[in-house]
Amino acid sequence: MIDALKIAALVFVAGVLQASVFSGADLLGGTPDVLLLALLGIALQRGAVAGAAAGFLGGLLLDVATLESLGLSSLLLTLVGYWAGRFGEATGGERRYVPLASVLAATVFVAVGGYLLHFMLGADILAERALVTALLPGLGLNLIVGVPVLSLCRVLLRPHERAGEVQLLG
């Protein structure tokens, strides 16, 4: 229960920050995706189901806050959360390349998937802008911002150790 509350709080704070602060920030030609990074942190710590659920709720929050078409971000972030959770489970989550690889893959997936979804829904978006001009700086920023965000998630969602008494015979 406490875990769920922590995850919900993380998603909420990241979503609000993403919607209000980071989405309008133009840092070196790109925009960091704090919600995506928080989602990756949650999924890597808590697995696929928690990742998918956090992705769905975070996407919904983002779409509501930015008055975008409902469901678009939810769909993408659900899939990303699920994949990242499975990736973390499959690799044990302990390997050093896992956070870096997940940030890279997730950023590219969200950019490409977002472009394809908007394209299919008839939005007029330049592929070059979406997939090259904005993606590369965004990728770099996510890698930079990802370090503290993933570390924060790891600290907040650290597995609490439960002391168990074992009475030995003799």
Partner: protein
């Protein structure tokens, strides 16, 4: 399943505290349940997209979205206020970096414009000179029996000791050896070497050059050659002491013709103006200095005079 390797070794007679992982993760959930949950979430997202697109802006989903956005608004404002100092700091830094790059860009632009101005000025001057050349070629003082072939100067004297230029017209354009070369101001020299596409012109200021000339006003004749001093000063040599030459007189080519022979230069091409006249008892001739009309230091286009007549043959 992660294996917790922190369990301590059990020791007989003592109690051991065992750490247990408390991850409430999907790692304990069955694959079927996991996939079911994800499938439900994906379907829910797709349903949201569909309904959001199919219903109008006044539909219940949009109303709910608006209500949600309204509820989130205070949090967004709070987050924005918290982030404002950082945003301001970033904006200041970004503006600083932007100002520096903007200054650099403007500096480059100014440099480009300066070069453009220089190019335009050069083009303007070249245009003026070429127009003057054309005006001279079509004017009444242009030598008859010659046609003027305009040619750009493509190489200048590499040092003060060499008084040759190379022009971008050669035998394929009709340039012949010893052809006179002029500008609108006056005589420049003669062609001393010809290739198919270029020709070397030895200037009148070269030590080997000479041109028979006369004082246009008094008809005193002599030979124009390079002066002993430095610079572009010329002298009118071989002027007899009884001839009259005054300062300010104009000197032009004589253009003599004797039997089958003729001067290399046609008659009446301006050479320069007399700047000083002197004579001594020991010299056989007057000492006449001439300031040439042509500016030998800044030649960029010349006219090569191509004779319409066949070259004279020796008897």
């Amino acid at each position: 399943m992660p294996r917790n390797r922190t369990d301590k070794v059990a020791v007989l007679g003592s109690s051991v505290r065992r750490a247990a992982a408390g991850k409430a993760s999907s790692r304990s959930s069955s694959p079927l349940r996991r996939r079911l949950i994800v499938a439900v979430l994906v379907l829910a997202a797709l349903a949201l997209i569909t309904v959001s697109f199919r219903e109008g802006t006044g539909g219940p989903l949009h109303d709910a979205q608006n209500a949600g956005a309204k509820a989130l608004h205070p949090f967004e404002i709070a987050a924005d206020r918290v982030a404002q100092p950082f945003q301001d700091a970033w904006g200041w830094l970004d503006g600083l970096l932007g100002a520096r790059s903007e200054a650099e860009r403007l500096r480059e632009q100014a440099e480009q414009l300066r070069q453009q101005v220089i190019q335009n000025e050069s083009a303007l001057q070249a245009n003026v000179r070429l127009r003057a050349l054309l005006g001279y070629r079509d004017g009444p003082t242009f030598p008859r029996d010659y046609s003027g072939l305009a040619a750009a100067v493509i190489a200048r004297p590499p040092s003060a000791f060499e008084q040759q230029i190379v022009v971008a017209a050669g035998a394929s354009n009709g340039v012949r050896l010893n052809a006179p070369v002029v500008t609108a101001e006056g005589l420049v020299g003669q062609v001393t070497r010809v290739t198919d596409d270029a020709a070397q012109v030895t200037l009148l200021t070269d030590e080997t050059s000479a041109a028979s000339a006369l004082d246009l006003r008094t008809r005193a004749a002599g030979i124009v050659r390079h002066g002993a001093g430095a610079g572009d000063t010329l002298v009118l040599d071989r002027v007899a002491k009884d001839e009259v030459v005054n300062v300010g007189d104009e000197v032009v080519t004589a253009g003599w013709r004797s039997g089958g022979l003729a001067s290399l230069y046609p008659k009446g091409i301006p050479i320069g103006r007399v700047t000083s006249v002197g004579q001594s008892d020991t010299d056989l001739y007057k000492q006449v200095q001439i300031a040439p009309y042509a500016d030998f230091g800044s030649l960029d286009a010349v006219l090569v005079l191509v004779s319409r007549k066949p070259p004279p043959k020796l008897p």
